[in-house]
Subunit: 474 residues, 2 copies
């Protein structure tokens, strides 16, 4: 195992290498695809299980739609096909024959969901219809990176239909809010929240809401989106219902998704020179116990028995614990491995500790060692895990704020933006021409904010319509 690249100087290389060395994913033999390995998948499962509970608690039901979609479906909504056509993977042959109509591997499932909605929605009594699926989608990527931008990625996609604009709007914002809670309270990642500009919104949406993190390299990362689709897809797929007055009307749709990209955000925001640092709520292993085996067989066995007893106690307290009994590795090699994998707490237990009825606890965040008397271990560990969760968010928030500045004119802050990066809150007149100027600085509008603090547009002489966040992005 070689040392990780310098996180300050070579952030992209550090990222690739930590993903590989911590065994989160491996390159697949299909261009741009990844094989998500057990440790990486376990992190995703922890996010997924929490989000799935919330999706169900907010009244949605899970379904499973086909992964193949008739090519003609993609073409029905004019904006949608423009956005997705260049990225499609197309099945032209099946069962030994050429297909009459090619099928695309879903890049997202709006079209096939709404085709079925046209069969299921007839009356206001069929609304709201609130569905979700956990699946993978394929978008042919030119510059793939594991988790951040892979040809196939894993996600959930929610699709809902409502009788009124207001109800759909509330739904889109409700799910955005759920995502923000997931990011901040579970992943310990502070995020920017706002609306996408017209040029950055989802192909076919009326409004796209987004939440974005700011990575240590000063680039913004879109972590997920919630779309107010309004009636465009309902019209394209002729979904109509009879309202309470007996009139035929088009329902309002929303869709919203969060992906394995969240794993990438987690790695970047919290990682350090020694590897991953995982927030306890999503860490597959919260505590690793490493017995230091010295002395004769009896002494060794006593240490193992004590370690097993401790592991059992922690499990009973609801802690995800791993007892590392690997005979092929030294304690030092184990320390290195579990640090790399970002396990929040490590417990060492050697002959002297056993004799003194104590263990040594080290936290991943600060590498602080403390000696714990046996009876206080479980309480201390559970408290410490809660503390680390909160502390990681606080520290991430400090970095987040350091990377966020106010800018008045692009000509003033553009140089810095194009160089060191960072996110700038500034004013915008809402003209696409001014937005296009950002390309000269490799940046874009990441989101349009609800608040308005700036008087003028970052580019032209006009007044600002709304504050925006501009940044380089992944």
């Amino acid at each position: 195992m070689q040392k990780l690249p310098d996180i300050q100087k070579n952030f992209p290389e550090w990222y690739q290498e930590v993903v590989y060395q911590a065994e989160l994913s491996d390159n697949a033999p299909v261009r741009g695809c990844m094989v998500v390995r057990p440790y990486g998948w376990a992190i995703w499962e922890n996010m997924r299980d929490y989000l799935d509970l919330r999706i169900k608690a907010t009244g949605h039901e899970n379904v499973a739609f086909p992964l193949l979609i008739p090519e003609s479906f993609i073409k029905r909504e004019a904006e949608h096909v423009k956005g997705f056509a260049p990225e499609l993977a197309v099945v032209t042959h099946a069962g030994g024959k050429e297909l009459e109509e090619p099928l695309v591997v879903r890049p997202t499932s709006e079209t096939i969901f709404y085709f079925m909605f046209s069969k299921w929605i007839k009356s206001y009594r069929d609304l709201p219809l609130k569905l979700n699926q956990w699946a993978s989608v394929v978008r042919w990527e030119m510059r793939p990176r594991p988790f951040i931008r892979s040809t196939e990625f894993f996600w959930q996609e929610g699709h809902t239909a409502h009788a009124t604009f207001e109800e759909a709007q509330t739904e889109a914002l409700l799910m955005l809010n759920e995502y923000v809670t997931l990011a901040q309270d579970h992943l310990a990642i502070p995020v920017l929240v706002g609306e996408k500009s017209a040029s950055e919104k989802f192909a076919g949406a009326e409004k796209t809401y987004t939440f974005e993190g700011i990575m240590p390299d000063g680039k913004a990362l879109q972590m997920g989106t919630s779309h107010m689709l309004s009636q465009s897809f309902a019209k394209a797929f002729e979904v109509k219902f009879q309202d309470q007055n007996g009139q035929m009307a088009y329902p309002y749709f929303t869709s919203w998704g969060a992906t394995t990209r969240l794993v990438g955000a987690l790695i970047m925001v919290h990682g350090d020179q020694n590897g991953l640092v995982l927030p306890p709520k999503v860490a597959p292993i919260q505590v690793v116990i490493i017995p230091i085996l010295r002395g004769d067989l009896t002494e060794k066995n006593n240490i193992i028995l004590a370690a097993q007893n401790l592991a059992d106690q922690l499990k009973l307290a609801g802690v995800r614990v791993k007892l590392d009994l690997d005979e092929h590795k030294t304690p030092g090699a184990k320390f290195y491995k579990w640090e790399l994998k970002g396990v929040p707490l490590r417990i060492e237990l050697g002959p002297k500790d056993l004799a003194a009825n104590q263990v040594i606890l080290t936290d991943r965040l600060d590498s602080q060692k403390i000696v714990l008397a046996w009876p206080e271990i479980v309480t201390h560990v559970t408290n410490k895990l809660e503390f680390l969760q909160t502390e990681m968010f606080k520290r991430a928030e400090i970095k987040f704020k350091q990377n966020l500045a106010t800018g008045t004119k692009l000509t003033e802050f553009g140089q810095e933006l194009a160089g060191a990066g960072g996110a700038y809150q500034t004013g915008w007149c809402s003209s696409p021409d001014c937005e296009a100027q950002l390309k000269n600085y490799k940046a874009s509008i990441r989101c349009v904010l609800a608040e308005k603090t700036q008087a003028n547009c970052f580019n032209c002489a006009e007044f600002s319509k709304s504050d925006v966040i501009v940044a380089k992005s992944y």
Copy 2:
């Protein structure tokens, strides 16, 4: 909603119609694919959650592999390509260009797993490697039926590598046993357990173990398989490891899968003229509470409040409960709907019941109504759910045994086999020629049993090598 077709006279039509009317799945706009609707998916989630716990408890880890596989991979193992080539869906274009090498949508993932195994397995220390994924696969089907045989279906596929033949053999049988427990203890479906004959085994396996149910129409249904792959794939993908003596060796692989076909088995084995009958362990809703709203507003509100209170009590006791407050349906229509959907228990609560401090409980299996005093409801309901789970297995076992007979000579039992169906335990000399005779009766060897009770082959004059089960099948 029209009446279900006669389950005795038109079993296939009854099946299609109950799947549709109970809203388990709907036909997708892609040939042979299904859209699994919320109620169908919730049944699958209950099976999946249990099986996932068992897969993890037996030392396996979840991963996610790409859904696209290079076409050349499928061709590396000679038997494998023969078995799967006719069923493949092939991506020839992606990102707007023709691909240099076509990609197939995975029909199963042995080839891509073992390609990665060749990168991960170097030493005996890397073994055993025990992985699993939850995914969907695509096999182009000529005669699709929802859940039973769909072009895309949902499943888990386990893939493991071991240092020795014995260990791999133990693994294949361990997981077979887990499946049998799932079928019998959770789905309440008795199964035949044995090995596949050479002509019926998985393309590329040394041995295929199977568990099969016998459906009410006398046909066997393969419910899942566990394969002892031995070294064929290790050789095809050049997976080698250094053993404890420093010698290079090929590891032994297993793979095993269970699919959404289990939902189909559940429907067929337990369903009746009124629709589904679900075993409590996998029922998305175990108890439905239907308030009978009569009288003035205060009286109605009191009934709703009491019903909500009861629902809360049952939830606290771990019961999956649904309070049906739909204003658009009469109590009669609700009874019909939840019967169709196979909910194990129904509770009615009307003004008279409320006055008498009681409810009426009806079970789906026998439609027996009993009056329950308020304080005994929770205990009675939880006991009754346990009783129903056991009772459903017992009744299914009686039908199972009625459909299972002993046969000596195919010329004697063949007429009956080809007609009414049923499964016959008989002797087999192990010759493929005798096996081929079964085609004349639309039947096949479903499994080779471990026990031997028959002296002679069902077809020729030779001695029997082993007992086999022959039947028509899905």
